[in-house]
Amino acid sequence: MLRFMLIRILQALPVIFVVITATFFLVRSAPGGPFDQEKVVIPEVKKALEAQYKLDLPLHEQYFAYLGDLAQGDLGPSFKYPGRSVNEILFSGLPVTAELGFYALLIALCIGVTAGVFASLRPNTAQDYIPMSFAMIGICMPSFLLGPLLVLVFGIWLDWLPITGWGDIPGDKILPSITLGSAYAAYIARLSRAGMLEILSQDYIRTARAKGLPEWLVVTRHALRGGLIPVIAFLGPAFAGLLAGSFVVETIFQIPGLGRFYVQAAFNRDYTMILGTTVFLSTLIVFFNLVSDIAAAWLNPRLRAQFKGGSQ
């Protein structure tokens, strides 16, 4: 088990390294720089600023300097917010984004699993087609369309829920969470339907029925555990995707999370901020993938036995 985890972490390192390198040079190759603005800055001031942030050094030296700092866990100073480090900004935005992601995932799981399992019980009937059509719409509808639509209906026409902010007015967390979670709910619904259909056609489900178990026990006790393994395996990438992909929703609903800093950093050519966020998110993606892989394997007794064997 430990060996498996160690191998997976070692495999992840080159991935993260490539991400850092690619981002570093891509950002630098984009035209403009952090101190190019509409307002003309006096050349001497600009030069002094560039020297302060080591921008006057040759590119490869900047690169190695950055790697050196990174190895010590320092993502560097922000170019746009003088006096604040990227680490500080990330960790001020992270709790908000993580909370939003968590609610979104919770909603996605509740709706997705229920709809998927429900659909799988009577395949190719209305009970299957209706939730799955909604799932298809959910996957196709981008959040920048769904968000404003929800705002229009529930915020303006019905006037039930607040339309911006985060934690300021009761209920202002509902719409963003639904907007962010819906695509994932749709995806989870499709995954759990497919997984359940596969398991429900297995011989051991017939065995369970032959024992005289009522249908709800057949589904919950015998089918769910196997049927939801694909969903569990998807949760890791999903949560990472929620964190990384939340910037659209954060922008729509004016939420002070990570995503907004990320987008602003790209506009501002805030090199260290872009790099820091990218590195941070890619590390999270790798980490959550690992966690959900382990969880999915752990649920399968056969794979669990291999883990035990491997760790001896």
């Binding site: 065995t207 178990l213 001896q312």
Partner: protein, 529 residues
């Protein structure tokens, strides 16, 4: 009073592609303390009739069109789902064909065993466990208390079937429905399971409904035999009447399909095509220190034009030996000389050239054909790969191949799922023959097939072998099949060859105890008596 009285049962399936009547007006009875066997090929409706009575046929597409099934006076077909559930698993229990897939891999044996007890009798988990362990002991599971918390994958097929039987008997049912309970098992295991079912049935006074495609299997245990063909009951009677005075042509066909007799031995001039010496194929699993000695120091010769039968149980290393001969399994030590050339020394292109001369037919025609390739593609691939023919003559060559293996040319654009098991095995044989090989390894080519189909495929293999002058290594766990096709026999046990000789010599006068026990397991002793 009969335990179960089925009267005029009819079941049909309605799908988008039309309706199909699976069971037509079937009537039979099961008496307490008796074993009633239903015999028929796949698709004869034998399983459907039993599942339908218990409400286990999914509806739609299934529909019960009429009839009644009186179980202790109550009509099962008229009961509500709720009432039926109370009977399932309590008064009527089932065991299924494939113990590998019929136990839930995510739950321990114990959890699954106590489920019916807790559900129907309301026992506490603790009491149920005591009972479950007693029963595991009774069906012959060693140290049952320790195995209670094991998962199904930790057991062999035979052991899992014992667990299934324990699970079926745990509520002391009055009727046990056994659907092909031994079909997926080795002969020796099959004999043990059959004996177990017969013993348990005698001790408990239960009625058994035993479904099988193999008349030989039920010969020893059945009190009454029902023969079904295409949803219709064509004959029924005592085993004696069925085996000795069969009236219906279909029953006679089933009887004729039971592998029996042997090849008229043509003396084959000893001219070794393949010589294997001191072959070892060991596997090194990552989490075990000791290597698995699948093939351990085996030496043998296969002569030109002969069929060499290789028998042994699962895990004896017979398949690995077959694969090693074709260099499909890693050889640890030893040599395989094919027509004067040591295959163990070949790599790359020279090896590929040799592959053309040696082909393999696998056990499972469902799994070994690519589901996304038509018959035409499947047959064309080796022809083009080995440059047997060019694009122009491809169609003609494939048509000839189809004729050879007895498939209609019209099927050429169909996909594997559109064929029956027997037809698929014909495709697999066609693919193996496409490269005009000199040597074929047939690994259990008929063990996934119904008996009547099995007989046809064996005939086909014998005929093709003669026609093309093939040399064949025929691997099987079924002694009767081996006897029918092989000129010489080798018996393998735990990676080693324990006995070899001319087929009739080995069958008539087995020297080794292991061979004797294999021979004693052949079902249908009542037949030959």
């Amino acid at each position: 009073m009969s335990l179960l009285k089925v009267d005029n049962l009819s079941v049909s399936f309605h799908t988008r592609n039309g309706s199909h009547q699976a069971v037509k007006n079937v009537s039979f009875t099961v008496e307490p303390r008796e074993i009633t066997a239903i015999i028929g090929e796949s698709g004869s409706g034998k399983s459907v009739s039993c599942y339908a009575m218990l409400g286990l046929v999914p509806s739609p597409p299934g529909r019960i069109d009429g009839g009644s099934a009186l179980f202790e006076g109550a009509d099962l077909l008229a009961l509500s789902e709720r009432e039926l559930r109370a009977i399932r698993g309590r008064d009527i229990a089932m065991i299924f064909q494939d113990p590998m897939t019929c136990l839930n891999p995510f739950m321990t044996i114990g959890q699954q065993l106590i489920e019916p007890l807790r559900l129907h009798k309301g026992l506490t988990a603790k009491d149920a466990k005591v009972r479950a362990i007693e029963l595991l002991d009774e069906v012959g599971i060693r140290s049952p208390a320790d195995t209670f918390d094991s998962y199904p994958h930790e057991f062999s097929g035979g052991m899992r079937q014992r667990v299934m039987i324990a699970m079926a008997l745990i509520n002391e049912p009055k009727l046990l429905i056994a659907d092909e309970p031994t079909t997926a098992l080795d002969v020796t295991i099959q004999a043990q399971i059959l004996r177990l079912i017969a013993d348990l049935q005698k001790n408990r006074d239960i009625g058994v409904l035993f479904i099988s495609h193999d008349l030989a299997v039920v010969a020893d245990i059945a009190d009454q035999i029902i023969v079904m063909e295409q949803g219709v009951m064509v004959e029924h009677g005592s085993p004696d009447a069925i085996f000795n005075h069969a009236q219906h042509p279909y029953t006679q066909k089933l009887l004729a399909a039971i592998p029996s007799g042997h090849r008229t031995a043509e003396r084959i001039k000893p001219d070794p095509l393949i010589a294997v010496s001191h072959l070892r194929t060991w596997f090194y699993p990552s989490n075990v220190k000791e290597p698995v000695k699948a093939v351990d120091d085996v030496s043998l010769e296969i002569h030109r034009g002969e069929v060499l039968g290789l028998v042994g149980e699962s895990g004896s290393g017979k398949s690995t030996l077959g694969r090693s001969l074709l260099r499909l399994a890693p050889i640890t030590e030893g040599s395989v000389v094919f027509d004067g050339i040591d295959l163990t020394q070949l790599e790359g292109n020279p090896l590929k050239t040799f592959r053309r001369r040696m082909q393999m037919i696998f056990q499972d025609p469902f799994a070994s054909l690519n589901p996304r390739m038509t018959v035409y593609d499947t047959l064309a691939e080796p022809l083009l790969l080995h440059k047997i023919c060019d694009r122009k003559s491809l169609d003609a060559t494939i048509a000839t191949l189809m004729d050879d293996v007895g498939l209609a040319r019209a099927f050429i654009r169909k996909y594997p799922h559109e064929f029956s098991g027997g037809q698929r095995q014909r495709i697999a044989i066609g693919r193996a023959l496409a490269t005009k090989p000199e040597f074929i390894v047939a690994d259990e080519p008929v063990s996934a097939l119904d008996v009547t189909i099995q007989a046809q495929i064996l005939e086909l293999l014998i005929a093709l072998g003669r026609e093309h002058g093939l040399t064949m290594l025929f691997i099987s766990h079924d002694m009767a099949v081996i006897r029918q096709i092989a000129d010489r026999v080798m018996v393998m046990y735990q990676g080693k060859l324990v006995e070899q000789g001319d087929t009739e010599e080995v069958f008539g006068h087995p020297r080794e105890a292991y061979t004797q026990s294999l021979l004693a397991s052949i079902p249908g002793a009542a037949l030959s008596a």
